[in-house]
């Protein structure tokens, strides 16, 4: 099977966000970048499928040279090949999806994996846009799946439960935390990754459809009230919730 995994290279989820000088993006000074946490589930899912059915896993990322760090880590986890669609300029979801879809057209994987969302802009859009651009079916927010005779059965998270979706291959999956706890790269994997190729490609260009006008911090929460230090504070807490906040 030909398996593709599209990964993002994003600020660590523990990052404290400060707004950059342009007022439209974050200040990246001192920010530690990682593979998106959901993208790690996607890598793990692809690797397990390859181990079960044989095949090739190609990881793809769109961005500047810094993304090579995350691609290298994916190779160390066990991916066979990496492709950097090299363009460091900011793009909206549509424009990222267009470039990724254009690349995938020539590679035509059986399954293309994404994380359910990139944890920077949280759009949850690129994977599904790519599916639509390629005319492929998809299942999003998948916690587990099984491949069977030219189709797959995926379980995806919805409000109050799960949906079991049958999807014909080739297909796109966007992954959620679930069955695929990502492995740590082994020492052998890290060594092997050094000799694996990272191919650089010029991604196709397209004009954005969304413009960011400004970025700001959420309004600060008004200082809270410590009601007490033990169970004796409970009646007062309930009174506040009932009479002041009016939420119960």
């Amino acid at each position: 099977m030909k398996l593709a995994v599209c990964i993002s290279h994003v600020p660590d989820t523990a990052t404290k966000i400060t707004i950059g000088a342009d007022g439209k993006s974050i200040d990246t000074t001192g920010v530690n970048y990682i593979i998106g946490p959901y993208d790690e589930y996607a890598i793990e899912a692809a690797l397990r499928l390859k181990e079960k059915m044989t095949g090739e896993v190609v990881v793809i990322s769109l961005g500047g040279d810094a993304h090579k760090e995350s691609l290298r880590k994916a190779l160390a986890m066990g991916a066979d090949k990496a492709v950097l669609l090299k363009d460091a300029s900011p793009r909206d979801s549509f424009s990222v999806a267009r470039a990724v879809a254009d690349y995938l057209k020539e590679f035509s994987p059986d399954i293309t994996f994404f994380g359910k969302q990139a944890v920077d802009y949280d759009n949850s859009a690129v994977g599904l846009m790519v599916a639509e651009m390629l005319g492929l079916p998809s299942a999003a927010v998948v916690v587990k799946f099984e491949v069977k005779d030219g189709s797959l059965l995926a379980e995806r998270e919805i409000e109050g439960g799960h949906e079991v979706v049958e999807v014909k291959l080739p297909a796109v999956l966007t992954m959620q935390k679930g069955e695929y706890e990502p492995r740590y790269p082994s020492l052998k994997g890290i060594m092997a990754a050094k000799s694996k190729p990272i191919e650089e490609r010029q991604p196709s260009a397209s004009s954005p459809k969304v413009e960011i006008l400004s970025m700001l911090k959420p309004p600060p929460k008004p200082a809270g009230k410590i009601v007490g230090t033990d169970a004796s504070a409970v009646p007062e807490l309930v009174r506040l919730l009932h009479e002041e906040a009016k939420v119960i």
Partner: protein, 327 residues
């Protein structure tokens, strides 16, 4: 000016975010001077469709087909795009639910539209729609304008107010869209309801337990408080990773983002990833032994104390107030 709203239903019942999206569209349309056209897809939805008038829909379009009873991203996207092409709206509103988030990117591609996902505020400025949406899991907000002739906005559930229905019914018009086998490349075979009655992302009150509860057995206390309040049980990441609770209860950056009216965090320290997922809740109560726990920084009310003493007392007090029996 016209706004087309995808009004999500499951089991022939509208989801609350559908009412919220219709009402939000009405608010914008009133200011702009225009109509709100709602679109309902399903197997037998013409009987529920008129209700949307009560939330501000001018007209409701229905597309009915036995195969639309359960969601199919490919078929639903085809229909929404086709209706949008015929209706020529200025904007399409879709609830940012599991279904809406799955549908919107596909519709955007079909219509060559801009997609503004997970909006938490919408306003008219300089004659165009401006949206505010959270980024970095809510650690920052961006103000966005979409640039295409028609644009799609998904609306975060529980943020826009649906209000009560005015009781007005809207005229309903059936629309035919030809569907063939090739439109059903992905189909939902089954919906598995989780054992919890109420989903943490949909609940108006959430009671979350953290690592400080020491073991899964102590979540009975959290369930008891949630039941007394008519709320849902949430869990911190540490608790889910330890296998005490299922992942669909996880609140935070690798779990669900919630914004209930009342969020009670019990023995949750408040890691930055957790705060990102719940700090937009309207009122936050923190119960934690550690007075320096970061959760107190976002709490409206706090009790610095032992959860094992405070929570049972709180459950009893709530039951006394609300007159509910023990659960």
């Amino acid at each position: 000016m016209k706004i087309l709203v995808f009004a999500e239903q499951r089991d022939n019942k509208f989801k609350k975010p559908a009412f919220e999206a219709v009402r939000a569209a009405r608010t914008i349309a009133d200011e702009w001077g225009g109509n709100v056209v709602a679109l309902v897809l399903g197997s037998n939805v013409s009987s529920i469709a008129p209700e949307l008038g009560g939330y501000g829909a001018t007209k409701v379009l229905t597309v009915e087909d036995a195969r639309l009873g359960l969601y199919s991203s490919t078929a639903y996207a085809k229909i929404v795009a086709e209706v949008a092409r015929n209706q020529q709206p200025d904007a399409v509103f879709i609830p940012a639910t599991a279904m809406g988030k799955d549908l919107a990117p596909r519709v955007a591609v079909k219509l060559d539209a801009g997609l503004v996902a997970d909006c938490t505020a919408l306003k008219l400025e300089e004659g165009e729609l401006r949206a505010t949406r959270p980024v970095y899991a809510g650690k920052a907000l961006i103000e966005v304008r979409a640039l295409a002739p028609v644009n799609i906005y998904t609306l975060r559930p529980n943020v826009f107010t649906a209000g009560a229905s005015s009781g007005t019914t809207a005229p309903v018009e059936g629309v035919n869209v030809t569907l063939d086998e090739a439109d059903f490349l992905s189909v939902v075979k089954e919906v598995k309801q989780s054992s919890a009655k109420l989903d943490v992302a949909e609940a108006d009150i959430v009671v979350t337990g953290g690592r400080g509860l020491k073991g899964p057995e102590n979540f009975a206390m959290i369930e008891g408080l949630a039941a007394a309040l008519g709320g849902a049980v949430g869990a911190s990441r540490a608790v889910v990773d330890a296998g005490w609770r299922p992942h669909d209860e996880q609140v935070g950056q690798t779990g669900k983002t919630v914004s209930p009216s009342l969020y009670i965090a019990v023995a949750v320290s408040g890691a930055i990833q957790h705060l990102a997922g719940m700090s937009s809740s309207k009122y936050i109560v923190a119960i934690n032994k550690d007075k320096d726990a970061p959760i107190f920084q976002v709490a409206s009310y706090g009790i610095v104390g032992d959860a094992f003493e405070v929570v049972p007392a709180l459950t009893a007090e709530v039951q006394k107030l609300l007159g509910k029996g023990s659960s």
